[in-house]
Amino acid sequence: MTGTSEMANILAETAGRLLEDHVTREVLGAAEEGTWPEELWRVLEENGLTQPLAPEARGGMGATFADAFVIAFAAGRKRAPVPLVETMAAGWLLGMAGIDVPSGPLALIDGSDGLDFSDGVLSGTAEGVPWASRAGHLVAEVDGTVLLIPSDAATISPDVNMAGDGRDTVTFAKAEPAASGLLPAKGSVSVSRLLGAVMRAAQMAGAMEWAVALTVSHVCDREQFGRPLAKFQAIQQMLSRAAARAAQARSAAETAFLALDRAGDDLANAEWDIAAAKVVAGEAADIVYDAAHQSHGAIGFTYEHELHFTTRRLWAWRGEFGAETYWAEEIGRRVLARGAENMWPDLTERQKG
């Protein structure tokens, strides 16, 4: 199970404390204005939180996905404006392909649509690459080959998502990777997309837990009509529904991280649980977003209030590394191809011990 080993306890405590101290409102605001949170990244890296998944021999910590869940969850809970989960995922990919992991933030490219790797060089364009312009290296996976590309071998055109986090357009023109290696196995879905999706699912679960907690605290404090908002049944009903959906998203994300550990070399074995986690997180996001903002009223719509630093990311993350429809179609096609008679047996088979 996730979050129960000694390693996980240490990671959770360290990540929680560092993020609490360093992701301040000032840092979030400045990041959005284009100031890279140097100090935040430095402490995360110094404490080993940026590379939990790469093997020790390659510069990582060699932790399990179950252990690493707590970092991704905390990154979402505290909405860290740095490519922490992307770097974790990229480090895992590099490790699996036998490539030494460089220090510094890594930019994980989602899938390989629009990219061509042949004759040892990479060409094409990738959009929405998280913090490419801040990363020393880009990591792509093309058809089971993992590529480590120095950023200066690409043309990077900066852009941001609706939360102000870097989502750049990267163009390669016969770029030479610094290193490349083959993954031991490759499934039907891009491995980089799978990893990105599971990380986003965990971040979203963390973000939703935080948004629910902040909203509970707000409605207990804020009084209207002579009593706290919390005493109104309409508010109670709305927040209960949101809390249930947030709990579902967390359970689904934890399940997907555990599935990654059980999947062995072939991440396709975890595809179902990752897809399910991203679908339910996306659907939950809509409900939590609504409940949190509605309960906060106009103050939550201001830039001054901190709610939007989380809710804008929640919404942005819904669409990254595959939105709900993308992942729903992936697993829906599987169910339909196997047919009604196999649906239940396949489900129990997948979740058996």
Partner: protein, 383 residues
């Protein structure tokens, strides 16, 4: 705010060999059983089927052997339940007795009650109904008025219960009644639970109530000077509210709170599987994603029960999520493959018609959606 965690768990490997046994049993005994009957899920009753399950040792599975139980784990029980639900097996006759009445008697009943009642339940021969709601007491259960008055050697019960599923076939009712007048300062005081023999007690009338799907499943039950003996009292006089809260936790914690409409998903997939569009696949995928994650949460609750915990808040959460999912199924199915289902149409149409009507009860039975959200709100610290 309570910490709400669902630790992902896996069923032990022993549970999987049991699963194979259950599937073989279902394949043998439910061969050719039509989809529209399977769609009734745990509202479909067949005493013969219940007795066969009893003979397999699949009723009262976790109870002590001295009462006819089998001392198996909650996870084994979970496997039997979910396989029966996925198959749409007619488990209604014994369902309430196995799920809540038996466990309630184990917790609060007298030794004599346990010895007399529990073995027959485990054989699939003794059925129970739930005596909670009254004509003027639905969600506000503490406002019940049916009362028991002490006599020499027994109690006289007067009043009525309503929405009592299967009262017409039940051998016993566990009824929550007033043994003291209502105290405005302590609304939960003065209630007690009684074990009422539905077949042998004079003064009981059962009036069937037809539901909107045309079924005669629930009833109104009238008590007119119905006399029960002293030993019909369950637990402690005046402790009825505490006991009924425990009983409701049993009632709310199982996989039936997300699997009731599985048969519609099954028929929908069958209707689409030969030539699905990308939109069909996405629609099915969303439902499959929910089913998969709800099952994981449901297993997590079974794991907590096995560990001796009482996950009341977690159970309320899963009921909220599960009911949302299973009740929305006809609407989702309509979006994917909209029809005006004919009662004599194909399997999909028949199940769609039944489920569209039956699903209305999902967010009412076992505590309304609003009551469940109220329980969650208390866990969040809002009330």
């Amino acid at each position: 705010m309570e910490d709400i965690r669902f630790t992902p768990g896996l069923l032990p490997s022993g549970a999987e060999s049991l699963r194979a046994e259950v599937r073989a049993f279902i394949a043998e005994h439910l061969k050719g059983y039509p989809g529209v009957k399977r769609a009734k899920s745990w509202a479909g009753a067949d005493p013969e089927f219940s007795q066969k399950m009893g003979a397999q040792g699949w009723i009262g599975m976790t109870w002590p052997k001295q009462y006819g139980g089998h001392e198996r784990s909650f996870l084994d029980r979970y496997v039997v339940l979910e396989e029966m639900l996925a198959a749409g097996a007619p488990v209604a006759a014994h369902w309430v007795a196995d799920r809540q009445s038996g466990p309630l008697l184990l917790r609060f009943g007298t030794e004599e009650q346990r010895q007399k009642i529990l073995p027959a339940i485990t054989r699939g021969e003794s059925y129970f109904c739930i005596g909670m709601s009254e004509p003027n007491s639905g969600s506000d259960l503490a406002s019940i008025r049916t009362k028991a008055t002490k006599t020499d050697g027994g109690w006289l019960i007067n009043g009525s219960k309503i929405w009592t599923s299967k009262a017409h076939m039940a051998h016993y009712m566990i009824a929550l009644v007033r043994t003291q007048p209502q105290d405005v300062k302590d609304r939960h005081a003065g209630m007690s639970q009684f074990l009422i023999d539905m077949k042998a007690t004079p003064g009981i009338t059962v009036r069937p109530i037809r539901n909107m799907a045309g079924e005669q499943f629930f009833n109104e039950v009238f008590f007119e000077d119905a006399e029960v003996p002293d030993d019909a009292l369950i637990g402690t006089e005046g402790n009825g509210w505490g006991q009924v809260t425990t009983e409701l936790a049993f009632e709310r914690s199982g996989p039936e709170r997300y699997l009731s409409s599985y048969q519609l998903l099954f028929e929908l997939v069958r209707a689409l599987e030969t030539d699905p569009s990308p939109a069909d696949a996405a629609g099915i995928g969303r439902l499959a994603a929910h089913m998969s994650t709800l099952r994981q949460m449901s297993i997590s609750i079974a794991t907590m029960l096995e560990a001796g915990e009482t996950p009341n808040l977690a159970a309320a959460l899963v009921k909220e999520l599960g009911v949302d999912y299973e009740q929305d199924m006809p609407n989702r199915a309509h979006e994917i493959r909209g029809v005006s289902p004919r009662m004599g149409g194909d399997g999909y149409e028949q199940v769609m018609a039944y489920m569209t009507m039956a699903a209305r009860s999902f967010s009412l039975r076992g505590g309304t959606r609003e009551i469940m959200r109220g329980i969650i709100a208390r866990g969040l610290g809002l009330r």
